[in-house]
Assembly symmetry: C2
């Protein structure tokens, strides 16, 4: 079993979907990644920052899931990062209503001493310089570094992003972001170009259309579970990344064949995340439920053509 370092936001979200709206609730990339990774019984630590307004019960919630929160800095006279967004009727696009960086503006991540030799590092969506500074603190070279990012950093910090991308093994990115980063419409060609930037493995997230894993000439396609109702897509991408990184940390196997399984675990966990607002579903998700849905994924994708 390996140790997992998770860096990312721990935040307040206020979400509006066609099904309703929330007040300020628990959110943030590191939160979703941590909740997903907690299903693998690994040693995991979250590295983040919050303000004095952040409830202790939220930190306890993560601790109860065996996420080490000693790397979450609390700025008592500061405010926690806040994001508010509204989803359109198709649930595939959203408008950001509010972004208050607050304490995040001066975030200098500090990796806990006993996690500086972690085998797996999950760099959640953050400024690429913050992501890079986490890598700088590792005393031994991690077995696998996974990075998630978004178009925002391509717009305002492209060179920093390219610099950190050079240093990682796996990038998770959505289809539009892959196209923006490479200028290529075909995801196959985009993945090739991203390989050339550094990452040996490229995961392209396509929302309701699933996720693609590329490694040179090899490809794997995991569908998203078709759902009668998507309640709130917030955090699905982070949950996917957390499931992916958590599974790799648990198994310690970075082969392409095992990464296929990691993608399936990520998709499985993400399929729960969208069933309720925010982190609600992930807070109360049993291993039995995960197991049952993995079987559904098998039935959804596996076939038995005799190839002679």
């Amino acid at each position: 079993m390996s140790k997992l370092v998770i860096v990312g936001t721990v935040a307040f979200d206020a979400i509006e979907t066609p099904f309703g709206k929330t007040d300020k609730i628990l959110g943030g990339a590191a939160t979703y990644i941590g909740l997903a990774a907690s299903h693998f019984n690994i040693d995991a630590a979250a590295v983040s920052i919050v303000g004095g307004d952040f409830p202790q019960k939220y930190l306890d919630l993560l601790s109860d899931k065996n996420i080490d929160v000693s790397g979450i800095e609390i700025v008592t006279d500061g405010k926690t990062f806040f994001w508010s967004g509204k989803y359109h009727n198709d649930m595939n696009s959203r408008d950001t209503l509010v972004t208050e960086l607050n304490t995040l503006e001066d975030f200098n991540p500090v990796v806990p001493e006993n996690y500086k030799d972690a085998e797996v590092v999950m760099l959640g969506n953050l400024h690429p310089l913050v992501q890079a500074s986490v890598l700088d603190q590792m005393t031994t070279k991690p077995k696998l570094v996974v990075l998630d990012t978004m178009n925002f950093w391509m717009d305002i910090a492209l060179q920093d992003l390219k610099n950190v991308i050079k240093r990682i093994d796996v990038i998770t990115i959505n289809d539009e972001e892959a196209r923006q980063l490479t200028g290529e419409y075909s995801l196959v060609v985009a993945a090739q170009k991203i390989h050339e930037m550094g990452p040996k493995y490229v995961v392209i997230k396509k929302g309701e259309h699933g996720a693609l894993l590329f490694h040179n000439e090899q490809m794997f396609y995991a569908p998203a579970l078709p759902l009668a109702e998507v309640f709130d897509p917030t955090g699905a991408g982070d949950t996917f990344a957390g499931g992916f990184a958590g599974y790799i940390a648990k198994t310690g196997d970075t082969s392409f064949e095992n990464m296929k399984n990691a993608v399936i675990y990520g998709s499985t966990l993400a399929s729960f995340c969208v069933e309720k607002f925010g982190t609600e579903r992930m807070e109360n998700l049993s291993n039995q439920e995960v197991h049952k849905r993995l079987l559904q994924f098998k039935q959804l994708t596996q076939f038995e053509i005799e190839l002679t």
Copy 2:
């Protein structure tokens, strides 16, 4: 081995894509379905209509692929159905430039006598009354009737379409059409509503995002093979349907598990269709190439998670 009746257009197409444009070339739903079905060494007959302008060499091409063309009526003083379209840069949408129905306007399909007991009937995209008249001519109830349709018939002949949909086993329809037919955004809910209209099996085609097969609570998801370059999507949906129906006719097995295989065969054949303009790739496609790509589909989708 079963007999397969194919009804659909045999046509001239003129196609424009970002990669170039064609003169009038061979096209039509029955043509693509027939070329796909020819890979299964079954007895298949095309039922269609063309004008005196239709080259004998195109009929010979189908005959050479073991498609019985005796049910293709030739109206010597008439003209062949002609369609012209232009694809947008994303290749996912297109404008119809020209539609000349010509002989298709008075098409009364006649099923060849020795095919009136065919076990599998593939009703390609045509006016629903024409599709129904083919079913009326069958002397024994087919084991499986597959119907393909499009939004055009929902706009101008919805009740006729609903009437024929009641009589079929499998519908193949794209995602937008499934939404239009049912008024439901979720494809899971749309499929349930289509089940209630009659078909026990619903195949929803999602273009580059693959295809979904529904049977009550059961679901199967076949991805499209991610391609570096889509050259011309014309006929991909018909090729998918032809591969599906052809595989069922060959195996004579209409179980859900075997339909999964049929969907994979359909997806595999469709992945070739888009590689060149029109029917060009399908005219020269070897069984070895198909076999090799089926293996790619396995690698693309199959995984080995131990579920204990």
